[in-house]
């Protein structure tokens, strides 16, 4: 069985802070991580590798630094990795991203399953997985939190809904987008991680020519949506700071609750 896992390198969101004076994003010292949902997808793939036997190829699109995310995936147990990196890919919306990844997947040899995270924490769109499934004409199941059964030609999964879950049978090959389940993503093994950082690491870097696309089809040029304006979110309230001991601030707060008839 061959599994492709799609991952994205993202800024470590919890460390992103705003400058209290200017309201700008403080970018210095923000480190990057493998997107959390994608780690769950990797963990799912490794579990399947252990139970069913599988070759795992990890695929990512991003700047050259994103190779770190692929090294991490290899450290965790992936067999090989491909980074799609090209200046022409920059500024892609989900339309262009799914096209680029889809083109690359068509160049990877036969596969049975494509796994990826439900969404990335920097964009939060959850669109790329389904758009790749459509591009490759594969069935999809999103919000998957458990793979119950993997058999010849089909997979049986649980899909999270707002008020419960569905048990779905889906023919293979298929695209599944994964959300956090019961198991925590494993840590990379030091020895594997070290070998993933050497020149002989099984990581390839592909550009636009390698996947056979024109630059007009990818990146910002190939996108259907454009950001036309960005602005800081509105801050509408002037916080009144209450100071003093716990007892005194609590008293002040209760007094304000009463004054505004909240209690």
């Amino acid at each position: 069985m061959n599994i492709i896992v799609l991952v994205k390198q993202v800024p470590n969101n919890t460390e992103v802070k705003l400058d209290p004076k200017t309201g700008n994003l403080i970018r210095e010292g923000v480190d990057t991580i493998v997107n959390p949902d994608d780690l769950q997808a990797l963990e799912t793939a490794f579990t399947l590798k252990e139970t069913h036997g599988a070759t795992i190829t990890v695929l990512s699109m991003g700047p050259v630094q994103a190779i770190d995310a692929l090294s991490e995936a290899i450290g965790m147990g992936a067999d090989k990795a491909i980074l799609l990196s090209d200046r022409a890919f920059a500024g892609a919306d989900t339309w262009a991203t799914s096209f680029t990844l889809g083109k690359a997947i068509q160049r990877v040899e036969k596969f049975d399953l494509i796994l990826t995270g439900r969404q990335a924490i920097d964009g939060d769109t959850a669109q790329v997985g389904p758009q790749i499934a459509e591009y490759l004409d594969l069935p999809q199941v999103t919000y998957v939190f458990d793979i119950e059964k993997l058999d010849t030609g089909y997979v049986q999964v649980k899909r999270r809904l707002e008020d419960g879950y569905e048990r779905i049978q889906c023919s293979l090959p298929a695209v599944l987008t994964i959300i956090g389940g019961r198991s925590k993503p494993r840590y990379p093994e030091i020895s594997k991680l070290l070998s993933a950082c050497t020149k002989r690491a099984p990581i390839e870097v592909w550009n636009a020519a390698d996947i056979g696309v024109t630059t007009a089809e990818v990146g910002m040029n190939g996108s259907l949506t454009q950001v036309i304006k960005t602005f800081a979110p509105k801050f509408e309230r002037q916080s009144e700071f209450l100071e003093g001991s716990a007892a005194s601030v609590a008293r002040d707060l209760v007094e304000r609750f009463k004054r505004n008839k909240l209690i």
């Binding site: 969101n13 989900t94 669109q127 209760v254 009463k258």
Partner: protein, 399 residues
């Protein structure tokens, strides 16, 4: 689209081979030859001193979409029950359609769901495209996508919006790729650009620290998903709507998934969107024991307990209690944020609360920017004290 060499003009100088980022040009027999690896990027064109390299790359133009008309809403239903967000979207659709002087339509897909068409009309749908059949009983990605493909190619809508629910976020990207449209996820605002007449889609971006307005100039329909709880329901009692049944050509063998069963999870379900008082916790609450303190405060206020995404992911609160961009949007009378830094994704779900109190150790925590009352301090001191005083206050008032 292509790049080619006018062989007569080429002197084999190799400027182009050095410039090509893709190693796509080689010089053979004294002439440059462009190979399969060419991506038509055009980097070589200006480098040639003899204008021997030609390209037919055109600047991008916006196509004419004047035949695309109408604002469409996906009327999401499960087991015959209409989702609230669909009705909310009809409210927004009325406003957009009025500005464009176009009509509002709803797409209703299911089995035995005819009755819901009337509800859709009462809330603003002038046309309901009704697609019924046993094959559509449960939502399935491929069957519903097929229907949208049929309807979009037949009617050419200008705008198509869906709720950013687990179904909407599964369906919208699939439909967008099928019909060849761009899509913007999880919008918190939609409006029409007065000059261009295009849909402006606003959503949090870049880790949520920036709001971005996105346009979809190059494709139709202009597609967006919208967060539940953001748009207002606008009853339209005078709407005279028509129902247009659509017979789909879809057959079961074209659908590659089967729903084996739906398991409803009976979590003690609190409808946070209706709560008057909410006590919410984030990373700073540390653990389940910390949340117990918050629960006591919530009980003393007769309010409900909620939390951030971190709190949900750590297992301190159930998914149904997660407030924010990927959770739910709330508008209580009073929102007390404890140990919540106030990432924009969280603020997006609570900033419309009437009053907000925030307790946090970090004086620069963004939560204070949306708070009416701020306490810079340790929640493990302040929260129990607050609970104690509220209990006393209640006793005094109860006397």
């Amino acid at each position: 689209m292509a790049v080619w060499v006018e062989v007569d003009l080429c002197d084999g100088c190799r400027r182009c081979t050095r410039e090509c980022p893709y190693d796509a040009i080689e010089v053979r027999d004294g002439k440059a030859r462009i190979g399969d690896r060419c991506t038509s990027c055009g980097a070589c064109v200006d480098k040639c001193h003899h204008e021997a390299i030609r390209s037919d790359i055109q600047p991008r133009v916006v196509p004419d979409f004047s035949e695309y008309k109408g604002v469409w809403v996906f009327a999401e239903q499960r087991a015959g029950k209409l989702s609230r967000v669909s009705v909310e979207l009809l409210g927004k659709a009325q406003e957009l359609a009025k500005q464009l002087n176009e009509k509002v339509s709803a797409v209703l897909i299911g089995y035995h769901v005819t009755d819901l068409a009337n509800t859709l009309i009462e809330f603003g749908a002038e046309t309901v495209h009704l697609v019924e059949g046993p094959i559509f009983k449960d939502y399935r990605t491929e069957s519903y996508t097929h229907v949208f493909q049929e309807l979009v190619s037949a009617y050419k809508p200008n705008i198509l919006i869906m709720g950013a629910t687990h179904i909407g976020r599964d369906l919208a990207p699939r439909v967008s790729r099928r019909v060849g449209s761009g899509l913007t996820a999880d919008c918190t605002d939609l409006s029409i650009d007065p000059d261009e007449g295009i849909l402006l889609q606003t959503r949090p971006a870049f880790g949520g620290n920036i709001m971005a307005t996105i346009a979809n100039r190059f494709s139709r329909p202009q597609m967006a998903t919208v967060r539940p709880g953001v748009m207002e329901v606008v009853p339209a009692p005078s709407t005279k709507g028509t129902v247009i049944p659509h017979g789909s050509t879809l057959t079961e063998d074209k659908v590659r998934t089967q729903i084996l069963e739906f398991v409803k999870e009976e979590t003690p379900h609190v409808d946070l969107s209706k709560a008057k008082i909410i006590v919410a916790g984030g990373r700073g609450v540390n653990d389940t024991a910390g949340f117990e303190l918050l629960r006591e405060l919530a009980v003393a206020l007769e309010g409900e307990l909620a939390g951030t995404r971190v709190a949900f992911e750590a297992g301190w609160i159930p998914a149904s209690s997660q407030v924010g961009q990927t959770g739910i949007t709330v508008r209580p009378e009073l929102y007390i944020a404890c140990g919540v830094s106030g990432a924009i994704q969280h603020r997006a779900g609570m900033s419309d609360s009437r009053f907000v109190a925030a307790i946090n150790k970090d004086p620069y925590a963004p939560i204070f920017k949306v708070a009416d009352w701020g306490i810079v301090g340790d929640l493990f001191d302040v929260v129990p004290e607050l609970t104690r005083q509220l209990r006393t206050a209640c006793e005094v008032m109860c006397d």
